[in-house]
Amino acid sequence: MKMKTLIRKYSLLLLIILSCTISRGQANAIVDSVSAGNQLYNSGKYQDAIRKYQNVLSQGFESAELYFNLGNAFYKSGNATYAILNYERAKKLAPNDEDIRYNLDLAHTQIIDNVVSLPEPGFLRWWKQLINSQSISSWGAMSIITFFTFLSLFGLFLLSRSFRVKRLAFWVSIAAISLSAITFSIGSHLTSKLINHNTAVITDRSVRVKSSPSETGTELFIVHEGVTVQLTDKLGEWVNVSLPDGNKGWVKESSMVRI
């Protein structure tokens, strides 16, 4: 627990260093815009709140909270599809946030299709839980810390005259570099998920999924708006989608929005 807070603090520090590039005035204006959106949401003006939040996004800024609030505003104005889209985006940035998951589950009950996910093996679920337990920055920070631990131990190994110290330093440094590699790969896996937008939410009211990437393809099944799909292939304007229940087929990319 202590470690966790430490990591969080550390990633916060890194973020602060990064965000130094944003000029202070601009940042203030954007934060004001977000709180204005929050106030509009409070008074029930969801459409106006949506506009405020989207304005912030259009200026090139994002955060899990912003997506979450935007998703809430969409949900309240009766648009479950876009609520799901924004919750998914928020979840990408903050995979471990319980509120986001709760609202996402609730939004899923409002859509037409009841897509039942395939059951996952226990270890996979455990692994995903582990991966999502920390943010990307935390994994990155962990990787850096363990790497520096490795460096200092390796240095000790190189410089020490005592054989016993050398041996101990060597083995502990091996453990540290392995840990660093694991945390790094988890971080890069999450980053690639974040950068490669290969999940999407269907936004057309009703989409016929074809067996081949053409209009003449056999119609396999119908999905309605709000379904989250995995994109596995792309050919022209057609993409191969795979549903959580394992069904696959080709759909025009214009009928969905990537998360």
């Binding site: 934060v31 090139g60 990307i136 990155g140 850096i144 890069s188 119908i222």
Partner: protein
């Protein structure tokens, strides 16, 4: 109130005025069949006052009398509407000159300055039987109570006896009579098993008309006309018709006084039956899969109520099939709608009339459907396939294609349907989403992830470089340290030699004390530089041990120690060893050379 009624009356009268100027008709009437030598009437009727009647050529007939003119007019008010009609008729009595078929060409008449022509007529003149028909001259039959078969019979005529399944044939039941037919008691008609039958409307009253059959004139009544649509293939036998007729017969009685004044008549029941008819029905050739079952000739029209609707708005597509054939038996053509339309069963409505030519009319199919979701859809053409019995092949008629634009609904109706269609197990009535996050969110530029960024890798690189630098510095330090030792080692003998030279100088000067001191320093200094041992730490024991480590021979070590001992002794007990200075100097030089050789 009254005024209003008056206006209404005037209006009605005005509206009905065009009714007076009705179509002027001019008709010619005569019996169809006459016997040679028989007198018959040829009548012309016109419903307006006409002038200048021009008769057609009547060279085959003799005009016995005429024209006699009669006029009638009528005026009637039915439900407040009045109608007036007049008719003028011109009557001629004719007689045929010879037998055969003769056509009388149309006559013409001048009404109000315009010439109107009548219809034409065909009259068949037959030779006639030996005994005259009808009238008071009729002779009583030989056997009372019976009627000869040739005088009264019934016929069932089917116009086509070889046809396709689903095509139509006309069955006509006619009664032929030469006797005084009074009525029918019981008519048992065939059931037309194997056919779908449709009666053709006939006048309620059966009117007898003169017709010739086998060269004789009969009074013929058409009892029934039925359209038959065979429903099975093969030979079908139509049952016979059985009719109980009431015939009025004159009864011959014993001569009496009143005989000549009163005839005695009796009603005789006579049963007549027709011959059964056999019809051959051919199966239809192998047809396409979605054949509608229609046989005949048809036209197709389609219409749609709207092509621009909102979600869940009903659209009705109507397909009208009209023509001649087995309209009643047509199946609704298949409509291929987009998959997620909600479709109801088509509503079928047919309207037809049986005529002599077959079943004429139309049948309409109304497809009601609801587009559930917004989008642009295409309803492909509906194919209606029927069999044309005249051409003997299948024909396809297609309706037009419809493009439908469905706009997004207002959501109120959708919600209700959704909840009923989708999930009933969800009971989130009291639940709501978690509230928005109020805290100042840490906004950052989109797509900027620290992980994997340049600065992220820079940290790793900096760490590696730092360690490398540290290691290199350490290595350099070690190397430098090693260099100092080597220089010292290399310089050791030089320094020692210089000190020995100094000792040699002191020897020549006779400075005994300084000589021994120089030799001692040369020896210790050499050892310190060579072995990299601090000067202060040197003593004889350590020196001998180190020298042994450096693989110096025992003899050299002993000599080295001895010289040091001698020098020490000479320094603290001067005078005695003065003459040995040269000897020691030589010895020292020799040991130094030996040692330098052995150690390196």
């Amino acid at each position: 109130m009254r005024l209003k009624h008056l206006y209404l009356l005037v209006c009605v009268l005005l509206l009905s005025l065009p009714g007076f100027s009705q179509q002027i008709s001019f008709t010619m009437e005569a019996p169809k069949v006459v016997e040679l030598g028989e007198q018959f009437r040829l009548a012309f009727t016109v419903n307006a006052k006409g002038q200048n009647l021009k008769l057609p050529e009547l060279s085959d007939f003799l005009i016995l009398m005429g024209p006699s003119t009669t006029q009638s007019s009528s005026f009637q008010i039915i439900n407040g509407t009045s109608s007036q009609s007049v008719s003028f008729s011109y009557l001629f009595i004719l007689k045929a000159k010879k037998d055969g078929k003769f056509t009388i060409n149309p006559a013409s008449i001048n009404v109000n300055g315009t010439t109107i022509t009548s219809n034409s007529l065909t009259i068949e003149v037959v030779k006639g039987s030996a005994k005259p028909t009808g009238g008071g001259t009729e002779q009583p039959t030989t056997t009372p109570g019976t009627v000869p078969k040739s005088d009264l019979f019934v016929k069932l005529v089917v116009d086509r006896k070889n046809l396709y399944k689903g095509d139509h044939a006309m069955a006509t039941i006619k009664i032929y009579s030469k006797v005084n037919l009074n009525g029918f008691e019981d008519i048992s008609l065939p059931s037309f098993e194997g056919f779908w039958s449709q009666d053709v409307a006939l006048p309620q009253q059966i009117s007898l008309q003169r017709e010739s059959f086998n060269g004789e004139i009969y009074n013929v009544g058409t009892l029934k006309k039925t359209l038959l649509f065979p429903q099975q293939t093969g030979t079908i036998t139509i049952d016979k018709v059985k009719i109980d007729c009431i015939v009025q017969q004159r009864v011959k009685q014993a001569k009496s006084f009143f005989d000549d004044f009163f005839d005695n008549f009796a009603n005789v029941k006579v049963t007549v039956t027709s011959d059964p008819v056999i019809v051959t029905v051919n199966p239809l050739p192998a047809g396409p899969a979605d054949f509608s079952g229609a046989v005949g000739r048809f036209d197709l029209r389609s219409s749609i109520t709207s092509t621009n609707v909102k979600e869940n708005d009903a659209i009705t597509l109507r397909i009208d099939v009209s023509g001649n054939g087995n309209i009643k038996l047509i199946n609704a053509p298949k409509l291929k709608l987009p998959a997620d339309f909600e479709v109801y069963d088509p509503k079928t409505q047919s309207n037809y009339a049986a005529t002599a030519e077959g079943l004429n009319g139309n049948i309409s199919f109304e497809y009601l459907f609801l587009p559930r979701f917004a989008g642009d859809y295409t309803i492909p053409p509906v194919n209606f396939i029927y069999f044309d019995p005249v051409a003997g092949r299948y024909t396809t008629k297609s309706s037009q294609e419809f493009k439908i634009h469905v706009a997004k609904g207002d959501g109120t109706s959708t919600k209700g349907i959704m909840s009923s269609v989708a999930k009933e197990d969800v009971k989130f009535l009291g639940k709501d989403i978690r509230f928005i996050k109020q805290g100042n969110s840490e906004l950052k530029p989109k797509g900027e992830i620290f992980f994997g960024s340049f600065s992220f890798y820079l940290i790793y690189l900096a760490g590696v470089l730092g360690l490398l630098l540290l290691y290199l510095m350490y290595q350099k330090q070690i190397r430098e340290n090693a260099n100092v030792a080597r220089v010292k080692n290399k310089k050791a003998s030089k320094v020692a030699l210089r000190r020995l030279k100094e000792a040699n100088m002191h020897l020549k000067n006779g400075a005994t004390e300084k000589f021994y001191e120089a030799v001692t320093r040369a020896f210790w200094g050499y050892l310190s530089d060579k072995m990299t041992i601090p000067f202060a730490e040197l003593n004889k024991d350590k020196a001998s041990a180190e020298l042994a480590n450096h693989k110096a021979s025992e003899i050299v070590i002993n000599r080295f120690i001895q010289i040091l001992d001698t020098c020490e002794y000479a320094r603290f007990a001067p005078g005695e060893a003065n003459n040995r200075m040269l000897e020691i100097y030589d010895e020292a030089c020799d040991v130094m050379g030996q040692m330098d050789k052995e150690i390196n």
